[in-house]
Symmetry: C2
Subunit: 214 residues, 2 copies
């Protein structure tokens, strides 16, 4: 059985849960409690030296790290339904939208960075929240512009079916809501996220639905 | 003619230059001066709403953003020499190594973040350097462990020819050196980076070789 090492609130694990569900794959979950720091334990680092979630061990024993690499692996091994369009330019657009979330927003706002801010840098709670929202707004403003301007957009980020871009967008929207970011300026993002969240694959991947949800 | 919008010291633009060179593709450069903030000008944002470099416009008019998406597009359109191995597990490993740099190190240490630290957060120069080096060491320790432990490694990150992972590693090593990070603890990273930098494609992509190098 495929095993996902994750955490219910981890945005990167949430992406992989969405993709596993879209592909109709069964999997076990092995929760790694990020708040208790279990991702830094030797036992977990033996599996993933990065000390990050998610990691995935497939039913044939392949051990994978980094959420986008995991998602593309699942797409290559289980091509239906596709996570990426067939044309190279469309594939590049979907990857760019996914990476705008995964390389420009999420890395700045994840738990270890927020802990460094309040710990090593000694910033107060309000300054931390301003930091968090700043990077969400920088990224979402760009994403909203791309989704509004570019012909590829549809009911989802690219066309009318979910892709890798939606699997990244929805967890980021969830996080932004949790940190009370004002999303009024992003109607297209909100509409696409609502469309995606209405699908069973996304609904079952939500943090509140996970076995370790606390 | 293909046009790369970049900046000589941008780590993400450097990745794309390496890949363009590995593929033997000719391209023009349109420098965007990040220190002067040209990436935030309306003219550039009309091209890339993210206000980030690189972006690439291909000779047939396709406009692309996000360095890893650009690299994979180039690999799909120009398959030789391949940037990724043929087997899905190998492809996932190369992508994970690339993303460990592109999602876990670089986003925290790029210019706009360092500016936020010294500007909005008012941290001093020494604290900024500690921040910079902290994320390099977190990422490089994980990368060194993966490169040392995993069977896939060779003279390069994966096997004995350069892949997408090396195109990410070399610019990150360059940046780490520029910020005077002590890399003694990472012999495998240093050896692979030296092997890659000895290749003409990497040498011609170096910041010092670019038309806008100042």
């Amino acid at each position: 059985m495929t095993t996902l090492y994750g955490y219910f609130r981890s945005s990167a694990a949430y992406r992989v849960r969405i993709v596993l569900n879209l592909k109709g794959l069964d999997y076990d979950q092995a929760p790694v409690n990020l708040v208790r720091g279990e991702q830094r334990d030797d036992a977990y680092r033996a599996r993933n030296p990065q000390g990050l979630v998610p990691s995935l061990v497939t039913d044939d024993g392949v051990s994978l790290t980094q959420s986008l690499a995991i998602c593309e692996y699942l797409d290559e091994r289980h091509p239906e339904p596709p996570l990426l369009p067939a044309d190279p330019a469309g594939r590049a657009r979907v990857r760019a939208l996914a990476q705008l979330v995964a390389c420009e927003i999420h890395p700045l706002d994840n738990l270890r960075v927020l802990k460094y801010l309040t710990g090593e840098l000694g910033v107060d709670e309000a300054t931390k929240m301003t930091w968090y929202r700043h990077w969400v707004h920088e990224g979402f403003a760009a994403l909203e512009a791309m989704l509004s301007r570019e012909a590829g957009s549809g009911d989802f980020c690219h066309g009318d079916a979910p892709t890798l871009a939606d699997a990244c967008l929805v967890p980021q929207v969830f996080n932004a809501e949790r940190f009370e970011c004002d999303l009024d300026a992003y109607p297209r993002i909100r509409r696409i996220a609502a469309n995606a969240r209405a699908l069973d694959a996304f609904r079952r991947a939500a943090p509140s639905e996970q076995p370790d949800a606390g």
